[in-house]
C-alpha cells in the first residue's frame, strides 16, 4: 500500500481485494456527493450572501418564483431527479454488497475444516490432526479454510482485518466463516464483540505458512508436545467411553438412529417435519436430546448438558463427520488430501 492509502490493511486473503475494490467505489461515490453538497453550500453561501443581494430585489418572475418555492414543474423534475439517481446508486451498492456477501458466507466445497472455541478471554483452535493452539492459528497458504466456531460463555467475534472476515461466535450454537489466505505472514486476530473486562486482550494472530511448513509444523505437534491423536480419533474414543456406541449402531438397529452419513443429510422428525442435520443440530441432539426426535425412535437418550466441554463436542462432531456421507466417501479433506 502506498502512503496515501496507509489505512488499507494488508490484503492477505482472496476476498480482500474484492472488498477493497468495493470500498473504493463507495469512497468515490460518497466523495463525489460530499464534495458536490459542500461545494454548492459554499458557493451559494458566498454568491447569495446578503451583501451581494439587494434587499427587496425586484420581484422574481412567476415561473422562477414557482421553481424557487419548490412546487413548480421544474422543481418537481428536480425532486424526481434527486430521488431517482440516489435510488439507482443505492441499488447498485446493494447488489454489489450482497453478491460480495454471498462470496463471504459460502465456504467452497472441500475446504480444510478447523475448529475454534472462544471463551473469556482467549481463542482456542483445533486442527483435525489433533493439534491445539491458544490465541494463535496456523494455516496453510493458498487453501480454503473453513472455521466452525462456538463459545463457552458470552458472544465473541472472530475478526481478521487482513482477511476482511468477521463472524460472531455465539454460545449455544455454531457459526462459521471461511477464508483463503494468499500471503504468508502473521496477521492480527481480534475479538470484535465486546465480551468483558479483557475484551481488548482477547487478541492473537493468524500465521499463514507455506503448505510444506504447515505440514512440518503439524507433524511436530505445533512445535509443542508430542503430536496427539487426530480430532476424529479423540471423538471416537469419547463416542465409546460415553457409551454412545451402544445405542447408535451403524446399521440402524440400535435404540438410537445410526449416525452414518447423518451430517449434511435431511432428517425426518417424529410428529412430522424435517431438519437439516448440520453441526448445530448434532450439538443440540447431544446436549438436549428431547428437542428434536428422529422419526421412529423413542425419546430416551440422556442429556449430556454440562458433561461435555465445547472442545469435546467438536471432537465428537469431527468423528461423526468421518462416518461419512451415504455415498461412503467424503471424509473431510486434510491438508494432504486437499493438496492433490
Amino acid at each position: 500500500m502506498n502512503r496515501f492509502l496507509f489505512f488499507i490493511p494488508e490484503q492477505a486473503s482472496s476476498v480482500a481485494a474484492q472488498v477493497d475494490l468495493f470500498f473504493y467505489f463507495m469512497v468515490a461515490v460518497s466523495g463525489f456527493f460530499s464534495l458536490l453538497i459542500a461545494g454548492l453550500i459554499v458557493f451559494f453561501a458566498f454568491r447569495y450572501h446578503e451583501t451581494r443581494v439587494e434587499a427587496g430585489r425586484p420581484a422574481i418572475d412567476d415561473r422562477e418564483h414557482a421553481t424557487t418555492h419548490g412546487h413548480g414543474q421544474g422543481a418537481v423534475m428536480l425532486e424526481i431527479v434527486w430521488t431517482v439517481i440516489p435510488f439507482a446508486l443505492a441499488m447498485v451498492m446493494f447488489a454489489w454488497g450482497t453478491s460480495l456477501y454471498f462470496t463471504l458466507v459460502r465456504p467452497p466445497a472441500g475446504a480444510l475444516q478447523l475448529y475454534a472455541v472462544g471463551k473469556q478471554w482467549m481463542w482456542k483452535f483445533q486442527h483435525p490432526e489433533g493439534v491445539r493452539e491458544i490465541n494463535e492459528l496456523h494455516v496453510p497458504l493458498g487453501q480454503d479454510i473453513r472455521l466452525t466456531m462456538s463459545s463457552e460463555d458470552v458472544i465473541h467475534s472472530f475478526f481478521v482485518p487482513a482477511f476482511r472476515v468477521k463472524q460472531d461466535v455465539v454460545p449455544g450454537r455454531y457459526t462459521q466463516t471461511w477464508f483463503h489466505p494468499t500471503r504468508t505472514g502473521t496477521f492480527h486476530l481480534f475479538c470484535a464483540e465486546y465480551c468483558g473486562t479483557q475484551h481488548s486482550g482477547m487478541i492473537g494472530s493468524v500465521t499463514v505458512m507455506e503448505p510444506r511448513d504447515y505440514e512440518a509444523w503439524l507433524a511436530t505437534g505445533g512445535g509443542a508436545a508430542v503430536p496427539g491423536q487426530s480430532l476424529a480419533q479423540l471423538g471416537e474414543r469419547l463416542f465409546n467411553e460415553r457409551a454412545c456406541s451402544t445405542c447408535h449402531l451403524p446399521n440402524g438397529q440400535g435404540r438410537g438412529p445410526s449416525l452414518v452419513g447423518v451430517l449434511g443429510s435431511t432428517v425426518k422428525l417424529e410428529g412430522g417435519g424435517t431438519v437439516k442435520a448440520d453441526e448445530s443440530y448434532v450439538r443440540e441432539s447431544i446436549l438436549n436430546p428431547m428437542a428434536k426426535i428422529v422419526a421412529g425412535y423413542v425419546p430416551q437418550m440422556p442429556t449430556f448438558q454440562g458433561q461435555l466441554s465445547e472442545e469435546q463436542l467438536l471432537e465428537l462432531i469431527a468423528y461423526v463427520r468421518t462416518l461419512g456421507a451415504k455415498d461412503g466417501g467424503a471424509a473431510p479433506p486434510t491438508v494432504a488430501a486437499a493438496k492433490e
Partner: protein, 99 residues
C-alpha cells in the same frame, strides 16, 4: 358531549358472541389439525378482539382518526413479528453450509 349511546341489545349480542367464540376456540383446540390449530385460534381471537374494539370501545362510532390509532399498534406489532421471524424462519436455508 354528543357521543353515540349504543343500545343495550347490541352490547348483549356482542357479549353472547364473545362467549360463544370462546367455547368454539376451546372446542376446536381438542382436535388436531396440525398447523391449522394455531391459525384457527388466532382467527377466533382476532374476531373477538375486533368485536371488543368496534363495539365495547366504540370505534365503530368514533372518528376515523381513532380507528387509525386503534389499528396502528396492531400493524406495527405485525411488522415486529414478521421481520423478526424473517431471521428465524430462514436460518436453516444457508446454501452450502456443510461445505
Amino acid at each position: 358531549m354528543s357521543e353515540h349511546v349504543v343500545p343495550f341489545k347490541i352490547y348483549a349480542v356482542i357479549f353472547a358472541t364473545l362467549l360463544l367464540l370462546t367455547l368454539v376456540t376451546v372446542d376446536v383446540a381438542t382436535y388436531n389439525f396440525g398447523m391449522m390449530n394455531i391459525y384457527v385460534a388466532l382467527a377466533v381471537a382476532t374476531t373477538k378482539a375486533t368485536l371488543v374494539i368496534l363495539y365495547f370501545m366504540h370505534v365503530r362510532y368514533a372518528p376515523a382518526l381513532v380507528a387509525v390509532f386503534a389499528a396502528a399498534g396492531f400493524v406495527w406489532l405485525l411488522l415486529l413479528l414478521t421481520f423478526a421471524l424473517s431471521d428465524f424462519l430462514t436460518r436453516g436455508w444457508i446454501v452450502g453450509f456443510m461445505g
